[in-house]
């Protein structure tokens, strides 16, 4: 394939302690993600998908193995470099939105953009996510779907190499969830951003270019969709 490799994950493992229990979250995961690709990582809870996402996003470090982004080995980065990496190259979307409660929608976005090198026009992004007229609202004045749109806008506005979404629809109802997925799909197409979504909802896999199946910390299967489904037409 003539596609350019963006992310190269090589044989990574991760162990961590949760309270008094030792958890083996990842076992020898190896895969690549290409530029502009829309990838869904699918697996039940506890399968290690969040850990994988966190490591790719420079929020966590593996116990073993290497991760390359654009041929830079981020697993060799120190804390400072990782911070810069997160600042300039990564956009995160979380399940629980994680907006700052005492900042308005637009301020939440500016919080992210004012520290990164070349951000996109915030007003345009707000229009793209359909919240231009609500930009002055505080999170507590918005619905979950609206908050998640703000979170997506916050991630996109940084103009990152990579958009990482951790169960972005997990806290939302079906219809809102679908609209969020369309939004992510549009952003993938419009801005040619690489998007990685992790979810336990197998229906979402249909909209991806590629689906990685995970179980117990291992990638057990890779599935390529030649014709991804339009997010509006998936059901769960």
């Amino acid at each position: 394939m003539g596609k350019e490799i963006l992310i190269s994950v090589k044989d990574i493992s991760k162990e961590y302690k949760m309270g008094e229990v030792k958890v083996k979250a990842l076992k020898n995961a190896t895969f690549d993600i290409f530029k502009g690709e829309f990838v869904v990582i699918l697996g039940p809870s506890g399968s290690g998908k969040s850990t994988l996402l966190n490591i790719i996003g420079g929020m966590d470090t593996p116990t073993k193995g290497k991760v390359f982004i654009n041929n830079n080995e981020i697993t060799a980065f120190d804390e400072k470099k990782l911070t810069l990496y997160r600042r300039n190259e990564i956009g995160f979307v979380f399940q629980f939105y994680n907006l700052m409660s005492n900042l308005t929608a637009i301020e939440n976005i500016e919080l992210a953009t004012e520290i990164c090198k070349d951000s996109l026009n915030i007003e345009n992004i707000l229009k793209d996510v359909g919240l231009y007229d609500r930009k002055g609202h505080f999170p507590s004045q918005m619905s979950g779907g609206e908050q998640q749109r703000v979170a997506i806008a916050r991630a996109v506005a940084k103009n990152p190499l990579l958009l990482l979404c951790d169960e972005p629809t997990g806290a939302l109802d079906y219809e809102t969830g679908v609209s969020i997925l369309s939004l992510l799909n549009n952003i993938n197409k419009k801005y040619n951003k690489t998007v990685v979504i992790i979810t336990h909802n197998s229906a979402i896999g249909n909209i991806a270019d590629r689906v990685l199946h995970m179980r117990s910390g291992e990638i057990i299967d890779t599935e390529i969709n030649e014709n991804p489904t339009d997010p509006e037409r998936i059901e769960w």
């Binding site: 966590d60 804390e79 810069l84 005492n102 900042l103 500016e110």
Partner: protein, 783 residues
């Protein structure tokens, strides 16, 4: 504005109650710092300036008689720059009220501009007619409402004189107007200083061509103590009674002690307040960081580094420091001029200058910033450990432990469920428990100390005039009289008990240390004194040997059983080596006590008396009014009224301290309760869902705080006692020995005040609990 700063600003707005409470603690600390430091420095500099322009004397040589021409010879002694003779006598002053006994010190003045201890003319003129004019010291004049051109009537050597007041003056010698070291407090109505011409003094006292005191200015840099020893030798033939150095001069000593004390408290008090503020800030920020764990994770995920996040929380702390110091400096500067005015009232300085010292303002900012930075760094240290990925995961539940109390099964079973819950909550977060409890202890101590110091003045007074000295009247003669005078007194007035006494100044020497003080000769088995040794056992006045007051023994460093030298200034009498038979408790003044016959034999002459002690129901003052040779009649009731006036003054400072204590207690309890509530939102919400009412939750928190308050007070009581012991040691001067016994009332009042402040803080937090939206708290995870 940076969005992170905007978040901070809104955070401050949302927690404004806490912000204000801590800031006030900082403000109080810095206000005290600026006001007292500036006040002390202003006083110090003013006094020094005053001494300079009035040519303040380095040495006061009191002697029996020295001829005019000998003064010139003193100047030739090495180290002496200048010497001046003068006459000083204490005499009674006649007033319109026959009941009243007023003493004045008459001092002769040459009124040359460069005179040692020159006078500062405040009103009127210097003396023009030397024979019938006088100058009156300002505090005495204003206390007795003496005006220019009025007449004053001193009684000199039994004769009545009438002098016109030509001017009101200040003197560097009487900045603090006290008769002698035995007096507890200044009494400007009962004792004053009058300056008269040298001619008049010489004539009226019969001192033609001679003086009884010499003022000496030493050459710059010359060792004053060395000069003192030299003068003692050189002037022995003129009957040197005592030589007082500038350092030991009563007024100067009181002023320097005031300056020293003010400087000390300007350092100690703010540190307590800033320390408390710093602890609250540190705790608060560390709780914030804990609460914001996910937020910090998200911010890190967005690419914010540790440094900018620490800065973010540090700014909270710094804002408190800066806002606090700005207000503290402003209030402190305003207050410092009030302190200066208070000093004018208290001390007799006609030229008080108030300067605002930028040094202290800058220092105030620096100190508070340092405290806040340390507090902030401590509070934010956990930011470093927050891994963004980990922070998104729920925290592992805290391990639930049985608390110590559980193990006392019998006791534990008797507790009601709600109390069990309260106790578990308290012991679950031990740091908060320790912080609140100690905070309340500190509040109690801050309230307890001023009340106790009031007690201590009370006890100095009661111990000295009542328990130690038991006479109704203490009468002093203007010169030593024969024994027979007792008979005369018995004739003119109705006397229950009477004993003669000798009270005479000597220098007591032990090793290299010496002190001039009055040695008092008393009759065997005297009934007017109750001597107790340091173990609080009654002891008797020995037939031979000497008893020393605790302060004196400490000052010269002598122990029981050792010998001291008593230097006799009286011509023809030898120095006496005498054994210290005991060291006695005496809360006020420094004295030695000897058997009167032993004292006469060894130091003076037979049958002499310098005064009497007596008990009487009669009107002694009136009866003795016409008796010659009586300079002063001191009665217990006079002392009592002076003391009560002083207590009135103290009420203000107690009020201020009470307020400070209240601020501390309020800030501690309010802040930690609010922090506790926001931390335990989920817990309270769960309780609400289970059907607890808001009131029940409030009562639960109230119970927790009551428990900690009581414990805090219980710790505060011994802590306060310990502090008092410390204060006793530090603040006991040679002149008075503090022996603080806090009264039961003081304990009760302090406990009540602490409870009230805690309760007020609790009341202020009630709103937060009532506003708690439990559904929101359970449902949402907005950070």
């Amino acid at each position: 504005m940076k969005k992170l700063d905007l978040r901070l600003l809104r955070m401050i707005k949302n927690t404004k109650g806490q912000f204000i409470a801590i800031t006030i603690v900082v403000i109080v600390g810095l206000t005290i710092y600026t006001a007292v430091s500036m006040g002390a420095v202003n006083l110090d500099n003013t006094v020094k300036h005053y001494y300079k322009i009035t040519n303040f004397s380095d040495l006061y040589v009191q002697l029996v008689k020295i001829p005019d021409n000998a003064i010139e010879e003193i100047t030739k002694i090495e180290g002496v720059k200048k010497a001046e003779g003068r006459l000083v006598f204490d005499v009674p002053l006649k007033t319109n009220d026959d009941e009243e006994k007023v003493n004045v010190r008459i001092i002769s003045t040459k009124e040359k501009r460069d005179q040692i201890n020159s006078l500062y003319l405040e009103k009127g003129n210097f003396i023009k007619n030397p024979n019938n004019e006088a100058l009156v010291i300002n505090q005495f004049a204003s206390a007795r409402n003496i005006k220019i051109d009025e007449f004053i009537k001193p009684q000199i050597m039994g004769r009545n004189y009438k002098l016109k007041v030509n001017g009101i003056v200040g003197s560097p010698e009487y900045v603090y107007l006290m008769e002698d070291e035995q007096t507890l407090l200044p009494d400007p109505e009962g004792f004053g200083v009058i300056f008269v011409s040298e001619e008049f003094a010489k004539q009226s006292f019969g001192y033609k061509g001679s003086y009884n005191e010499v003022l000496i200015k030493a050459k710059k840099g010359y060792d004053i103590d060395k000069l003192k020893n030299k003068l003692e030798e050189e002037l022995e033939r003129y009957g040197v009674k005592r030589i007082i150095t500038k350092e030991n001069q009563l007024s100067n000593k009181m002023v320097s002690e005031e300056v020293k004390g003010a400087k000390q408290s300007s350092k100690a008090i703010p540190i307590v307040f800033l320390g408390v503020a710093a602890i609250i800030i540190a705790v608060m920020i560390s709780r914030m960081v804990k609460k914001d764990r996910t937020t910090i994770g998200v911010l890190k995920a967005l690419g914010y580094g540790n440094k900018s996040l620490i800065n973010h929380y540090m700014k909270y702390s710094l804002t408190i420091g800066l806002v606090g110091s700005v207000f503290g400096i402003i209030l402190g500067s305003i207050l410092s001029s009030y302190i200066a005015k208070m000093y004018i009232m208290f001390f007799n300085i006609p030229i008080l200058k108030i300067t605002f010292y930028y040094r202290y303002m800058i220092l105030a900012v620096v100190i508070s910033v340092i405290f806040c930075i340390i507090a902030g760094l401590w509070g934010t240290r956990r930011v470093l450990n927050i891994m963004p990925a980990e922070s998104m995961r729920p925290e592992p539940p805290k391990t639930g432990n049985r608390i110590l109390l559980d193990r006392f099964n019998v006791l534990w079973k008797k507790l009601s469920f709600s109390w069990k819950m309260v106790l578990r909550n308290i012991f679950r977060s031990k740091k908060r428990f320790i912080f609140i409890t100690l905070g309340i202890s500190l509040t109690f101590v801050v309230i307890f100390l001023p009340f106790s110091s009031q007690d201590s003045f009370n006890s100095i007074f009661v111990d000295h005039y009542g328990k130690f000295q038991r006479m109704d009247y203490n009468i002093n003669f203007s010169k030593p009289l024969n024994n027979k005078v007792i008979k005369d007194i018995k004739q003119v007035t109705n006397v229950k008990d009477i004993e003669g006494k000798i009270e005479y100044p000597f220098e007591v020497v032990y090793g290299h240390r010496d002190k001039v003080c009055n040695i008092i000769g008393l009759e065997n088995n005297t009934q007017f004194f109750n001597f107790k040794n340091l173990k609080d056992e009654n002891i008797k006045l020995p037939k031979k040997g000497i008893l020393l007051s605790e302060g004196l023994a400490k000052y010269i460093g002598v122990k029981k059983g050792e010998k001291v030298k008593i230097e006799n200034f009286i011509p023809g009498k030898d120095d006496l080596y005498v054994r210290v038979e005991g060291i006695i408790k005496q809360s006020l003044g420094l004295n030695g006590y000897m058997n009167i016959d032993f004292m006469r034999e060894k130091l003076l002459q037979k049958n002499l008396l310098t005064g009497v002690y007596l008990n009487s129901d009669g009107d002694i003052k009136k009866d003795l009014e016409d008796m010659k040779n009586i300079t002063s009649v001191q009665s217990l009731s006079d002392m009592r009224s002076v003391f009560n006036e002083f207590l009135d003054l103290m009420i203000y400072s107690i009020g201020v301290m009470l307020l400070f204590g209240g601020v501390l207690g309020f800030a501690i309890v309010y802040n930690s309760t609010i922090l506790g509530i926001s931390e335990r939102r989920l817990e309270f919400s769960s309780l609400r869902v289970m059907g607890f009412t808001k009131k029940e939750i409030f009562i639960m928190i109230l119970k927790e705080n009551i428990f900690m308050t009581i414990l805090g007070i219980l710790i505060g009581i011994p802590l306060g006692k310990y502090m008092i012991d410390y204060i006793e040691k530090v603040f006991s001067t040679e002149i008075y020995t503090l022996n603080i016994e806090s009264s039961f009332k003081t304990y009760i009042v302090s406990v009540m005040a602490t409870l009230i402040f805690v309760f007020l803080a609790q009341l202020a937090t009630m709103k937060k609990i009532y506003k708690l939206d439990f559904i929101e708290a359970l449902k949402n995870r907005i950070t």
